[in-house]
Each structure stands twice: as C-alpha cells, then as structure tokens.
Symmetry: C2
Subunit: 304 residues, 2 copies
Amino acid sequence: MESEFIGWLRERLPSHPRLLLGLGDDAAVLRMSHNCVVTSDLLTEGVDFYLAECDPRRIGRKALAVNLSDLAAMGAKPVAAVVALALPRSGALELAKQLYEGLLPLADQFDTAIAGGDTNTWDGPLVISVTALGEPTERGVLTRSGAKPGDRVLVTGSLGGSILGRHFDFTPRIAEALLLQERYRLHSATDISDGLSLDLSHICEESGCGAELDLEAIPIHDDATRLAEQRGDGVTPLAHALSDGEDFELILAVPPEETERLLREKPLATPLTCIGEFVQHAGLWTRDAHGAVTPLTPRGYRHE
Amino acid sequence: MESEFIGWLRERLPSHPRLLLGLGDDAAVLRMSHNCVVTSDLLTEGVDFYLAECDPRRIGRKALAVNLSDLAAMGAKPVAAVVALALPRSGALELAKQLYEGLLPLADQFDTAIAGGDTNTWDGPLVISVTALGEPTERGVLTRSGAKPGDRVLVTGSLGGSILGRHFDFTPRIAEALLLQERYRLHSATDISDGLSLDLSHICEESGCGAELDLEAIPIHDDATRLAEQRGDGVTPLAHALSDGEDFELILAVPPEETERLLREKPLATPLTCIGEFVQHAGLWTRDAHGAVTPLTPRGYRHE
C-alpha cells in the first residue's frame, strides 16, 4: 500500500520553494532561515471524529487546520507539515488519498509544504498525526505568558456551538494573526481549542495574572444559539460561547492604547471584540454593568 | 490525564540550548541555523510491538531511535523531536511516563531536545508518532539518489536476525554517519529498515543505477545464525542478512579511492564492510568468486 500511495502522492504534491528535498528519501529537507516553531496534533477515531459519519476529506483538512491554528496562536508563518497515518487495513489506500485530498487544498491556501510523513496500515481505527513547522516573523513569537494587568482581552470571530460543523470547517486564523502581529503591539495569544474560559485561564496561569470578563460583550455565534435550542438542556448560548471547545478563534492580550487603535482601525474582515481585561489578581472573574465582580469557573474540554 | 502528564514532563525535561520555548504553549520554538531535515515514523500496537510482551520503555526508545536512524541516513545532526501519543485509556498516565522514560535517555545521548507533542487517550491500542528535526552539516545532506556506477557498496555493522531483540535496542548510527560525512566523500546513504536488498534497491532506483553484491562479503550477525537455527525452516543466515528488516545499519555509496582510504583508516569502532559495487545496469545482482553474475530479487519488509 505505502509504495503505491507514495507514487500517487508524488504526482499530486506541488513543488514548493521551501522543500529542497521531498518524498522518496529517508527525510525531507526544508529551507529555514532562523528559528523554527513546531507543533503537533494527533486526531483519533471516536474522540475527534467518527469515520462512519464524516467525509475523510474533512478529517484530513482538520488534522492540518488544528496545527495551523496553533501556529496562528504563536503569530508564526506556516512553512511545512509532516503527516503520519495509521490506517485501518480495509480500504487503506482510498482512505489515505481522501485524507490528503482534504488536506492539500488547505496546505496550498496557507503556502505550507507537505514534507512527507509516514503511512501505515494496522488492525486499529484511523489515527492521523500532523506536525507543523513555522517561522516567527520579525516581531518574534506570541506566547501565552506575555499578558500584563491592564491589557485588554480580545477575541476574533464569534464563539460557541462549533460542534454543529465549524469544528471541522473553520479557517485557521493565520492571516489575521500575521496581520495583527505585523501592525500592532500584541502581548500574548492563544487559540480557542478547549473553550474560551479554559484557554483564557491558560494565558492567565502562564502570565501570572487573572482576567475579568464582561459577559455581555462576548460575541456569541449563531451556532451556540441553535445548539442551545436543539438541546433544550438549559445550557445557555453564553455558556456555550464560554466553554465549548474547538472554536479555533484567537484570544489576544493587547495593551489598552493599542486596543483602542485596533478597534478604531478595524484591520480585519473578521470581527475583533474586546471582552474584558487582564488583572493583577489570579483567576477568572465576571464584571457586570455595575462593576460587581464574581468568580467564573473555567470550563471546557478537559483532556483525559 | 494530559495536564497531569505535562506537569510531570515539565519536571523531567532538561533545558536545552536549542529549545527557546518548550512545553506549555501552543507550539515550541527551536533555534535553527539554516535548513531543517525532517522525518516522521509512527509505531502501532500489533505491527511494531505487542504491549503485552514488551516493556513500554523499549517502545518509547525505539520510536525515537527509528527517527534518529533516518537522520543518520541523511548525514544530519539531530536537533529536536516531537512526540504524539494515542494511549489506551486504562493506565494511560503510567504508560505515557514509561514511554518517555525509555525515550528521554536516548534523546539525551544524541543531544536531541524534546519539543513537546500531543498526548491523547482513546479506546484504541497504543500509537506513538515521533517527528524528528535535524540540521545538515556543512557537507550538506546524504540522499538516496547520489550513487554512481563504480561506487562501492558499504555497510556498517552486521546484518540479519534483528527480531531477536536488536530491532528494539539498536543504536542509531548518528555518530558514525556524522564522522564519515565529515571526513570522507560519500555519494549516497540510507538506513536498513526494510532489509539490505530492498533498501539497497531503493538507492539504485533513486540513483538510476544497479548494484552487484559479493554475497561472501556480507557481514552476517550472530542473531541471523541463531534465528536460522531456531526456526529450522531452511532460510539461511545469509538470506536473513539480505532480507530481514530493522537492522538500522547504514548502506553507503562511496567512490573507490575513498573506499580504500576508509577501509585502511578504519575510523569507526563499528565494522564497515565493502559488499559490492554500484553498476550502470539497473537491478540487483550477485557476483561469485569467478565473476559470474546472476539476478537477485530484492526482499524485505514490504509496507502493506
């Protein structure tokens, strides 16, 4: 299977100026200029997708997209990705092709070279592991540890209910992150993979501060409203926006004067909303219209 | 599980001058000087190991070692590795720790930073996917496509029967590859993962030439002899040396005068043996003491 698949893939893969040596050797060789930003995400049947219910192209696309979202959160430019597959034996070749058919257009869209990988069959369910390599811009990388009390909490897009489909078909915020990182002074960033409140608490922990949220300002996605209606379980659209995972939007820590400039200039097609402020005291808090502050428990997808 | 595991791993991971930003962010940042050599290997339960029969430390070690062997085959210096795991839910934390306990000493031995990864649990069997990053030396990389007719075929070590244990506990030929690459003019290299004859045929295909082997010169490992005795199935020790996979020794293409110098100077502690010659006509051939040439079918581990 593997040699036949590699033959197919060699035909399909476009040449890429970064890829000095591609498939067909013991390793690939990439042109890199200085530092390398590297991230890895592995998706499994039954946790991240059900093959019986989902077009493999969407799974392949998502496996790359979640990695590109991590590079976006670092403010890094994508360079290349490596794809390792464990395929169920039955129909393995067709499945491998479909995964790549979903993945390749996204790689092309974000100018990401596919630097080979490893293709295996086995008696288990589908596993797809992607490692993405990127490069910092001249402004360096955005980490989770740079938020300072007084910085504003900004988010891209609107949140909640991604499970209705956006968790597969989201666009990683690469273009937005690079533009913001180039034109504005950002202190910190992460992407929303586990849920707004939980990912924000990660920034707070790594930065040694807390955050107060203005709940009324949180941009709630229509999907969150639809999901709350469909389920009728009393979980509000706001609760979905605060705790649903896989929005793959960005959370940013931005100094106040820079926030003003950002909200005035509106440089993105995507909405950018100020939803609160980083504060000295640890923990997450909500602040109502009268300035009353109450603790907020971070909720979201906890990795078992 | 994942956050507890990351806490454990943060304590265990030594700092590394290449690792500008390690665990705890959306991605790691590595100091790289110019080009990046990247390779990935994924190991699965039931194909590469049986967890019930094998100490997880050996599995973790092997998952990194096979990647380092690929870097050795490229003549590249290891820089970092990224580890993605799909762990069976029951006992996941303990298993993750044991895998790393096997992997970390090897990373340390070859000065390889662990640049994070992804740790997941699921209802399936163990999958471990490692991506290794390296850097070319000043001499550039060794590819599979550089062999020229007249070059000698050299191998490190001795071959066959690795399934008796060496397929787990081999030492990747990093030190040997870097020393040879620095001091001698090598044309091509690969590592023996699928079997001597099959991996040699890959060099021939990529280089557009063939190779004649002197069967009497092939260094046969004691394990190949033991395996042939144990199995008593008529497969000779030589056949094992020619076709068993996972020796993880190097096959090199070296110009004749450089081969003479190498064999005279013996720069390695590991044996280095000339076993034949690359030739103009395609295919693999054996040459007997009288110069008679007969075709040799490449055999080894064919990836399904």
